[in-house]
Amino acid sequence: MTERLTLAKAINLGLRRAMERDPKVMVMGEDVGPLGGVFRVTDALQKDFGEDRVVDTPLAESGIVGTAIGLAFAGYRPVCEIQFDGFIFPAFDQITTQLAKVHYRSGGRVQVPVVIRVPYGGGIGAVEHHSESPEALFAHTAGLRVVTPSTPADAFVLIQQAIASPDPVLFFEPKARYWDKGDVDVTADESSLGLLPAGEGVRPEASLLERASVLTRGDDVTIAAYGPTVRTALTAARVAGEEGRSVEVVDLRAISPLDIDTLVASVTRTGRLVVVHEAPTFLGVGAEIAAAVTERCFYSLEAPVQRVGGFHTPYPVANIEEEYLPDLDRVLDAVDTALSY
């Protein structure tokens, strides 16, 4: 059975299911209790699961992630909420030097199944630190899985699989898409979600944690996008289609690991690739994809891989953010460029 849910509500429901399934799952962060988070993603969870399992923490991100690591040592599965992308940095040390490395350091003996939820991305007219896309910084750190859903359906599955993962997962939520609606299969259960007993993660065939999805089939050019830019990519595919160009859109879903196989299969057919993300292109996810795809299917490429993304500037003021963000025109421009070779 499917229900039409917003992205925010789909994550909320996924959290609820995970908490019902496993008493060790906790939610913690700033304002996640009675307020339900500033985006209401944790709405009503404290009311239903109590203050021990849904914790309004003191105002300290390093504290949130650091104590989540301790809770994981004690057998819990904390899901931390960082209020906005730009406020993850007080926790950067705990995430990169501790969370990412506990399993490695322990020789595989200690798992730290912590999920860190981060509303990210721009386009909401916000002030500084509320519109950033820092995913590459975390994907660059070995030991962390990094995922980002673009639809309510994927968000519902991904959040439950992320919680089931024995690895730490950075779960980036495209905040500008929180209110987008989509059909969600709310009957999905443990077995259809592929959830294995605690510590074993997710059945590979069912896992979205490492798998991109091909949203539209096309022959002329591939657009790879994730999170907030997927909708833009789909619009670009439609508009280009009206001009007789056949565009394939791939939603990466996972940033670490990258599903390079799916991209290579696509580009082997289309010969052209455009990568779109809001984060700066310089040393970003698109740069890695361009290199990896070039290594794997150099002889299939008809054009250099095009990157569309943010600039090498801090996220600009809201008045001009639309000029910074990759929009339909810029994606179409890149498609044109790719096709001009």
Binding site: D31, G33, V38, D56, G63, P90, H312, I320, E321
Partner: protein, 384 residues
């Protein structure tokens, strides 16, 4: 010259245990209250001075209410109201000297006003037009820091610079300087704020930590940040600390005056907890009905800091002429703020590439050039 060189000895600090009873010099109904230590700090404030405080508070409130309305009308992206915190802000700021340097967070509109800032520049950040809005050195008042607590360390470091410049303990009122940082109750939980106090105490740096405990950090009550009054946070670091009624503008002035005298004279840092209340929403995006009661709001409305001072002034004989004049001035300020806000145009898109670095940077310049060409390509299309 570093004036607090202790020669390796642990410096002696006054370990007095601060009282949990906030210092109060003006009762909630507007009567002067005697305080053994602090009355003397405010004795010189005559009626004219207090009328000045009143004007500061009333104009701050009007500006704040106007900005809240502008947000509702879609003219601002966001606004964090300081409603209810005017006494803590104005009283403390009035004790500052021009050469003292302030690192505020985002709600200190009353401090900005007292520092002499054109209040209208506060709108630039919240309209999404600038990340800052003014030159910090012009009024020794930095632009807001939005990452909770980070700037407490900047204040400690600035104060360490003052020590190295030898601008403490000279006795010259035009030379001795201090750094002051404003932050909230929630901010005290951040590691950076604790580290700032560690550094300030270790260096004996001339810095004042002014914490406005407005009872809430968005939806989280102060009790979730600390089991004891926040004033003891300072004491724990060996920093003289005081708790003040932050809705009492005279007491807020007095405790800040003492803290600044300590800083200026080489006595090191002070921590102040000003007990006040955020009468409005956290920001215009917030809905306080989800987490706090109407009864609580009503109780604090009874303690309105502006009404309290007005009662006192009326007892001193200030007449309606004065209040009417302030009201008229507030009307003009409000109108002016509205007109200014509406007149603001978007900056040129290409300005996003400005000031990323102080000197030219090849990556930025390549991207700027690409952006310019890209924009030009549209112009050409139109012409064609």
């Amino acid at each position: 010259m570093i004036t607090t060189d202790t020669g390796g000895e642990t410096p002696h600090v006054d370990r007095h245990d601060p009282s949990d009873d906030p210092v109060q010099l003006l009762s909630p109904t507007g009567e002067r209250v005697h305080h053994e230590v602090y009355s003397a700090r405010a004795d010189h404030l005559d009626r004219a001075a207090l009328e000045g405080f009143y004007r500061d508070m009333a104009l701050t409130r009007r500006f704040d209410v106007e900005a809240t309305a502008l947000q509702r009308q879609g003219e601002l992206g966001l606004w964090p109201p300081c409603l209810g915190q005017e006494a803590a802000q104005v009283g403390s700021a009035r004790a500052l000297r021009p050469q003292d340097f302030v690192f505020p967070s985002y709600r200190e509109h009353g401090v900005a006003w007292v520092r002499g800032l054109d209040m209208r520049s506060l709108l630039l950040l919240y309209r999404g037009r600038e990340h800052g809005g003014w030159d910090a050195r012009e009024h020794n008042y930095n632009v807001p820091t939005l990452v909770i607590g980070s700037h407490a360390l900047h204040a400690a470091g600035y104060a360490m610079g003052i020590q190295r410049d030898g601008d403490v303990g000279t006795g010259d009122p035009d030379r001795d300087r201090a750094a002051v940082t404003y932050f909230g109750d929630g901010a005290t939980s951040q590691g950076d704020v604790s580290e700032a106090m560690v550094f300030a105490a270790a260096a004996g740096a001339p810095v004042v930590f002014f914490c406005q405990n407005n009872q809430w950090a968005i939806s989280v009550p102060t009790a979730k940040q600390s089991r004891i009054p926040l004033v003891h946070r300072g004491t724990g670091f060996g920093i003289p600390s005081v708790r003040v009624d932050g809705n009492d503008v005279i007491a807020s002035y007095a405790v800040m005056a003492e803290a600044l005298e300590r800083a200026h004279s080489g006595g090191g840092p002070t921590f102040i907890e000003a007990v006040t209340y955020r009468m409005g929403a956290h920001t215009t995006s917030d809905d306080p009905t989800r987490y706090r009661s109407r009864a609580e709001e009503d109780m604090w409305r009874q303690r309105d800091p502006i009404a309290r001072l007005r009662n006192h002034l009326e007892q001193l004989g200030t007449g309606s002429d004065f209040f009417d004049a302030v009201e008229a001035e507030a009307d003009r300020l409000g109108e002016d703020a509205r007109a200014y806000c509406r007149s603001l145009e978007h900056p040129p898109a290409e300005s996003m590439f400005d000031h990323v670095y102080a000197t030219p940077h090849a990556q930025v310049e390549r991207e700027r050039a690409w952006f310019r060409d890209y924009k030009d390509s549209f112009e050409t299309e139109v012409v064609r």
